[in-house]
């Protein structure tokens, strides 16, 4: 399936990435020019770079047709980024947003994981709390924004609280399902080795739930990024969301694009780091990178 797709692409766009091909080819001197081109192409395509090359091409064409500030060209966007970096706005906005995301996400995780474990383990707690979770998880964090501003003020607390809220639901729900889905054989084998209920909880239930918890934490990070941008657009004096929102006042669409790419980078990089952490540190709990195993 994948191979077929790659082949089709190869036929339709043979020239666009000749630069990348040339880079990748250096090592394979002994191979024929045809195979080398093909290898280089696959090298680029497999790593997802082809998609980016295509995007740039389409973007450039569209921007040329549209013209002006309606859709800035890639180069103009790059210039806008340099401008923002020179003035220091981009760095400070990025740091502010990162700080908010990290704080809210960490606190959210610290609250949500134990809560999910307890809800999953004890039926009575589940009866008490799960209905509320299944109701409020459909209320987007941004719905609480004005309320949080009233309660926690216009400072950092309200924004972090919003991220905590947004982070918690995916983590709680995934943790619960991890606890519930535990193989009864694992419990039985601990019981027949004389483990008490409490011992089983911390030495069997928690480790078995790690893959689900990890999935929840990853999803929570996505929720955190969505929530902070919305919050910064509506009620902040800095941050990437604020940058995107205020750029419209100056009609600086290039800055908007810079903000959008930065958000993408934050999400992509943080998730890549998390996945790496999962693959290396949590491997023994049964977390494996699906991308690598389905090759």
């Amino acid at each position: 399936m994948k191979a077929v797709r790659v082949k089709n692409l190869e036929e339709s766009t043979p020239i666009t990435d000749s630069v990348h091909q040339a880079e990748a080819l250096g090592a394979k001197a002994e191979a024929g020019i045809g195979t080398r081109l093909k290898d280089g192409f696959l090298f680029v395509a497999k790593r997802g770079l082809l998609a980016w090359v295509l995007l740039l091409v389409v973007w450039q064409i569209a921007a040329t047709v549209m013209g002006g500030s309606f859709l800035p060209t890639p180069l103009k966007t790059l210039a806008g980024a340099q401008e923002l970096i020179k003035s220091g706005t981009l760095q400070s906005d990025l740091l502010v947003s990162l700080f908010r995301i990290l704080c809210g996400w960490l606190i959210g995780t610290i609250i949500a994981v134990p809560l999910g474990l307890v809800i999953g383990q004890f039926k009575i707690v589940r009866w008490l709390i799960e209905p509320l979770i299944n109701f409020f998880r459909f209320v987007p964090a941004i719905g609480f924004l004005t309320l949080f501003l009233l309660w926690f003020g216009v400072g950092e607390v309200s924004k972090v609280a919003l991220i905590i809220y947004a982070t918690m639901f995916p983590i709680i729900i995934n943790t619960i399902s991890g606890v519930i889905a535990i193989d009864p054989l694992k419990i039985e084998s601990a019981q027949s080795q004389g483990a008490s209920k409490f011992q089983i909880f911390y030495s069997v239930v928690i480790p078995s739930s790690v893959p689900s918890i990890f999935t929840g934490v990853r999803l929570g990070l996505g929720g955190a990024i969505i929530a902070i941008v919305a919050a910064e657009m509506l009620a902040a004096q800095n941050g990437i969301g604020y940058l995107i929102y205020t750029s419209r006042l100056y009609y600086r669409t290039d800055w908007i694009f810079v903000g959008i790419f930065i958000l993408g980078f934050i999400g992509f990089l943080s998730d890549t780091l998390l996945r790496l952490f999962g693959n290396v540190v949590l491997k023994k709990y049964g977390i494996s990178d699906s991308r690598r195993t389905t090759k």
Binding site: A190, Q191, S192, Q193, S203, K284, G286
Partner: protein
């Protein structure tokens, strides 16, 4: 007089159907009916029966995982009410039963750790258990690095480490290839002879029962399954599977196995 390890008196089991607001409880048939059995200490006892005959249910009751409906289950003279480390259990599905986040060594030492045995006292026991199953070279590996047979060895070693009086094995070699299965059977006999533990071994494989059992209890078909007959096998180990005696035994077992006992 020999000591009795497991004693079953008129044991019966009925799975209670789930009741709901709109559906009245209806009574389901008995899975096990009037099971009576005495297993002396140190015996290698095999439960043989077709799939779904209730032999695993009985084993789960003895292990303490399932409540019985009627009768008495005594292990070393006291009534079974819950699972305990006096009854080591080796499950068929090793992947589900051993802990993937612990190394082989940690898996084997798990029970002792839960009993608050110190690291220092735990180490020699774990080592001895690993030696017994030939896994001493693989102590630091994680389960995903092991083959199916090695995983079953881990299960056996961890049960032995807890020093149970009874070792319960539920079709432990069913998922292994024929050659590995024979090796494991021989090793189990070896372990049994070295440790002198009572072994309760469940299988639906007639050849396996004939190869292993000192006594073989054949279960009748469900529902209302019971032990049709208990056949003593007075032959030394390792047994020759090609001997006429073995053929005769397998034939006898086959008769009972297929009709669930001689036609009444």
């Amino acid at each position: 007089m020999t000591k009795i390890s497991i004693e079953l008196k008129h044991v019966s089991k009925r799975y209670q159907p789930a009741s709901s607001l709109f559906k009245r409880k209806t009574s389901s048939p008995l899975v096990l009916k009037d099971i009576n059995l005495m297993i002396p200490t140190g015996e290698f006892h095999v439960f043989l029966g077709q799939s779904g005959c209730g032999k695993s249910t009985l084993l789960n009751i003895i292990a303490g995982f399932l409540p019985k409906t009627g009768g008495e289950v005594l292990v070393n003279g006291s009534e079974v009410t819950e699972p305990g480390s006096d009854r080591g259990v080796v499950f068929q599905n090793a992947d589900a039963a051993i802990f993937p986040w612990l190394t082989v060594e940690e898996n084997v030492g798990y029970g002792l750790k839960m009993q608050h045995v110190s690291d220092k006292d735990r180490k020699p026991v774990v080592e001895r258990s690993l030696n017994l199953v030939g896994l001493e070279e693989h102590a630091d590996k994680y389960p995903y690095e092991l083959s199916g047979g090695m995983k079953q060895r881990v299960q056996i070693a961890r049960s032995i480490a807890n020093d149970p009086s009874i070792l319960i094995l539920d079709e432990p070699f069913g998922a292994l290839d024929a050659q590995t299965r024979r090796t494991m059977q021989n090793e189990l006999i070896d372990i049994w002879q070295k440790t002198g533990k009572t072994i309760l071994f469940v299988t639906h494989d007639i050849q396996e029962a004939a190869y292993l059992g000192q006594k073989i209890s054949i279960f009748s078909r469900s529902p209302e399954s019971h032990i049709a007959i208990t056949i003593p096998v007075d032959r030394p180990y390792p047994r020759n599977v090609y001997s006429s005696e073995n053929e005769q035994l397998v034939n006898t077992l086959n008769q009972y196995f297929e009709v669930g006992g001689p036609v009444k």
